[in-house]
Subunit: 84 residues, 2 copies
């Protein structure tokens, strides 16, 4: 069994209103040292696979076909082996 | 300048309907090897700070005071130094 940790982020050219709102709110709360905030998704997935590379392929295809919007988002996958 | 990569995840005891829906949809798309899906947030933050530990403190406080719901969510912060 493998665990995939996936981060899905808006491309830098895409406006991120949720991040902008959080940045503004942090400013109001006194966090003046925070220069920018961008908010994406973090997906944890357990995958039954014979190898790390097979698990990577499943996770990448899941991102391409469902989880990420390939026009607006990038994704990054890290695979860990789960030891029983 | 430092960059904080923050993952915010629902505690394992909390039901994750978004993850359940994604898991179901992946099953329909033929991803039978995916055993579970949980969906959280990924926050990227740029922080002006004198040291890595100061940046870590800012990021952790931002999570505690605004970004994470401490009753339902856990967060994990990684700090990187940005080299100009």
């Amino acid at each position: 069994m493998f665990k995939a940790n996936i981060t899905i982020t808006l491309r830098s050219s895409i406006l991120d209103p949720q991040g902008k709102a959080s940045h503004h709110a942090l400013g109001e709360l006194g966090f003046g040292s925070v220069q920018s905030v961008r908010i994406g998704k973090f997906v944890e997935m357990e995958i039954k696979a014979a190898s790390k590379s097979e698990a990577m392929e499943v996770a990448e295809n899941a991102c391409k076909e469902l989880l990420a919007n390939s026009v607006m988002e990038d994704f990054h996958v890290e695979i860990y082996e789960l030891v029983a």
